[in-house]
């Protein structure tokens, strides 16, 4: 007979997590959930003129895209770890292949492609409509702050 373990964490649900969030940076940026799998999560950031780095061109600043990718990669790690567990971003590198088109929603997909006892390795891409025409690539690592079990 199997008895549910009350201590076992529920699988991490990125959509429910974002829906329940009442404040914080993800809410301020208006991040939306688009999809997820066992080791990946896709989020979107709607275009917002408050987030541009240049009022004339209307091109999004880099920071919102870093936030989008950091969050998507975080959710990917939690999907792969099976639950929302403490970790800290150790480093994140973003290569901007081209500017995001002004007015376009930016979609970011992060995946956790390797998990060790203490480190999660992530990578991802961002696009603004065509996944085959990415605007940024990211690579990063997270330090896990509790034991894998």
């Amino acid at each position: 007979m199997s008895v549910p373990d009350p201590a076992a964490p529920a699988p991490f649900d990125p959509a429910a997590f974002l829906a329940a969030a009442r404040d914080g940076h993800a809410v301020a940026l208006g991040l939306r959930h688009r999809g997820h799998g066992d080791d990946w999560c896709e989020l979107a950031i709607p275009y917002d003129r408050r987030l541009v780095s240049d009022a004339v061109s209307g091109i999004l600043a880099s920071g919102p895209i870093v936030s989008l990718m950091d969050t998507a990669c975080t959710f990917a790690v939690w999907r792969r770890r099976g639950a929302q567990r403490p970790h800290a971003t150790m480093d994140l590198r973003i290569d901007y292949l081209r500017p995001a088109r002004p007015g376009a929603t930016v979609v970011g997909r992060g995946s956790c492609y390797r998990l060790t006892q203490r480190v999660a390795f992530v990578r991802g891409t961002a696009h603004d409509g065509d996944p085959d025409d990415p605007l940024a690539h990211v690579a990063g690592t997270f330090m896990l702050l509790d034991q894998w079990r």
Partner: protein
């Protein structure tokens, strides 16, 4: 001068960033804590810190330009690498950037963000930015 770089950037406003002085000749920025900057419970979102570092980098380039320079140039980040060294608490965060090299087309920048102690950064970033003339050739 340097202040204009910050006030002209909608994203800097969004993050609540203000120029509060200078450090080693570069603009010193402050990002007061606000609920919209939070990440995991009790800590700042890494993306907000990365945003502050980006604004510090732009302000540092801008401060080197002649009068009106900020209106002529567009700074386009090509690569941004952020090392997060400590969790950011729910307090004011400061940042300052240094031009390691500024050429005609590329600026290589090092930016640092800290809270209580400038010698204990919460994050540092290296950024390589393209500098593009906004005026038509």
């Amino acid at each position: 001068m340097a202040v204009s770089a910050v006030t002209l950037l909608p994203y800097a406003d969004f993050l609540g960033i203000e120029a509060v002085g200078e450090q080693d000749g570069a603009p010193l920025l402050r990002m007061p804590f606000a609920a919209g900057l939070g990440g995991a419970p009790g800590i700042l979102h890494g993306g907000a810190i990365a945003g502050l570092l980006e604004i510090a980098a732009i302000a540092a380039i801008d401060a080197t330009l002649e009068d009106g320079g900020e209106a002529r140039a567009i700074f386009k980040p090509v690569t941004v690498t952020v090392d997060f060294m400590r969790p950011g608490a729910h307090v004011d965060t400061f940042a300052c950037a240094r031009l390691a090299r500024r050429g005609g087309r590329i600026a290589n920048i090092e930016a640092s963000a800290w809270q209580d102690d400038v010698a204990r950064p919460v994050a540092v970033a290296r950024m390589n930015l393209l500098i593009r003339n906004r005026m038509p050739a």
